[in-house]
């Protein structure tokens, strides 16, 4: 690891100020990706501003037709939260299957979304459930937030403070995990919210999370397991690596989508 300065922030405003006044500072949430990245010398921040002590950034709130999860809420706490479990069980289930128990004890929703790993689970939830990212300066709808692999529309020094999820009529997330890393080879969120059907795919696309419009159309015609399974996805733009070929990932998208439809009911 290269050297860096470490400081704890007492509030979101403090954290933003600390990052803005540093040479090349970065927010540190749970660190489940950032610390390994720094260890591999793939990142060289001048300063790490630890958000872990900021109580205002932790917790879950129910609003009218929505559930808001604050950015520093850990995966384990999303998975076990009564509001999330009763209003959006698909989201609690997704959080309960991120990484492994030790990652869930530390990793956060805000950290995951700011990083936008192309194989992370939460991006599929945000895009599939049509959530809104709330930052210290504005609100960003899902479609405008994800901007390719490890890239988002966040500006320098902009801090994700919460994510607001509309409560779906039905939804489910199914993934085919890499057996070692537990990242999604392919993960699919299917959701029906106020009559709109969305199918969001993570793990497969070269540009990160995307909506599978062919499966959305098929499910709009007929919300059935077979309708999803019968869609032959193109392998264009899909990842091909030692874990799975693009063709295999394309096949998995339809299979995972059909299993998600079965789980959603």
């Amino acid at each position: 690891m290269y050297e860096f300065n470490y400081q704890k922030a007492n509030s979101a405003a403090d954290a933003v100020q600390a990052v803005n006044s540093s040479d090349d500072g970065q927010f540190l949430a749970g660190g489940m990706t950032l610390i390994p990245t720094i260890k591999q010398r793939l990142a060289q921040p001048s300063d790490l501003i630890d958000l872990a002590g900021i109580n205002d950034l932790v917790g879950v709130e129910e609003g009218e037709g929505s559930v808001t999860i604050k950015a520093m809420t850990r995966h384990v706490d999303v998975a076990n939260n009564d509001i999330v479990k009763s209003k959006i069980p698909a989201l609690a289930n997704l959080a309960d299957n991120i990484g492994d128990p030790q990652v869930r004890n530390r990793g956060t929703i805000g950290g995951s979304l700011a990083n936008n790993d192309p194989a992370a689970d939460y991006p599929a939830a945000v895009l599939g459930l049509n959530a809104t990212i709330i930052t210290n300066t504005r609100e960003i709808i899902a479609e405008d937030y994800f901007d390719g692999m490890f890239t988002t529309s966040l500006e320098e020094g902009e801090l994700v403070t919460a994510v607001r999820f509309p409560i779906p009529d039905k939804a489910a997330y199914t993934k085919f995990p890499n057996p070692a890393s537990r990242y999604a080879l392919v993960g699919v969120m299917v959701a029906q919210t106020n009559g709109e059907i969305r199918v969001a795919v993570t793990g497969a696309g070269q540009d990160g999370v995307f909506r599978a419009s062919d499966i959305e159309s098929a499910l709009s015609g007929s919300w059935t397991v077979d309708a999803a399974k019968d869609v032959k996805m193109s392998d264009e733009g899909l990842n091909s690596d030692i874990h799975a070929s693009a063709d295999y990932r394309a096949h998995l998208i339809s299979v995972m989508a059909s299993r998600a439809v079965a789980a959603a009911g």
Binding site: L28, G31, M32, D100, P101, Q102, V103, R106, A180, R182
Partner: protein, 155 residues
């Protein structure tokens, strides 16, 4: 250099460390607690699992500074003198280790499971161990050990 202070196995410790010092480095190199192992160093294998404020964490993926003020338990904190902790004893009785490299992490991870679920099923144990890799045993005897350890802890 920042000063970090924490409680490790019931003892207060404090040291000046570089910001970039990982928790596992602090435990092994500053405190001499080498029972916590560095296996993959990429957050996958779980040989470095310790308890921080009662929850299991991978100490190769956390900075020492991030756990300032916390209460930690490592594998060295389990036995009572020469008397093994019931979970350690269960690993010995059930041949839950071969080379033993992954064992400290397995035991610490198992104890986090058992405190959340005192009567886990075999399936619960296998799912819980998704963050702990073993290259020797094929997991079968590790699962047996944890099930036996859970029963022993229930008394």
């Amino acid at each position: 250099m920042p000063t970090v202070s924490m409680t490790v196995n019931g003892k207060s410790v404090s040291a000046d460390v570089e910001s970039r010092t990982l928790l596992v480095q602090y435990l092994r190199e500053h405190l001499g607690l080498t029972g916590t192992h560095v296996g993959c160093d990429t957050s996958q294998c779980g040989a470095c699992v310790v308890h921080v404020n009662g929850e299991s964490l991978k100490s190769c993926t956390v900075l020492a500074a991030q756990v300032e003020g916390a209460d930690l338990t490592t594998i060295e904190g389990l036995a009572n003198g020469d008397e093994l902790h019931p979970m350690q004893e269960a690993f010995r009785e059930n041949h839950g280790l071969q080379c033993g490299f992954c064992t400290p992490g397995m035991v610490m991870s198992a104890l986090d499971l058992v405190q959340k679920n005192s009567d886990p099923s075999e399936q619960d144990v296998r799912e819980w161990l998704e963050g702990n890799l073993c290259r020797c045993t094929g997991y079968h005897n590790i699962v047996k050990s944890i099930l036996a350890g859970a029963q022993a802890l229930k008394g």
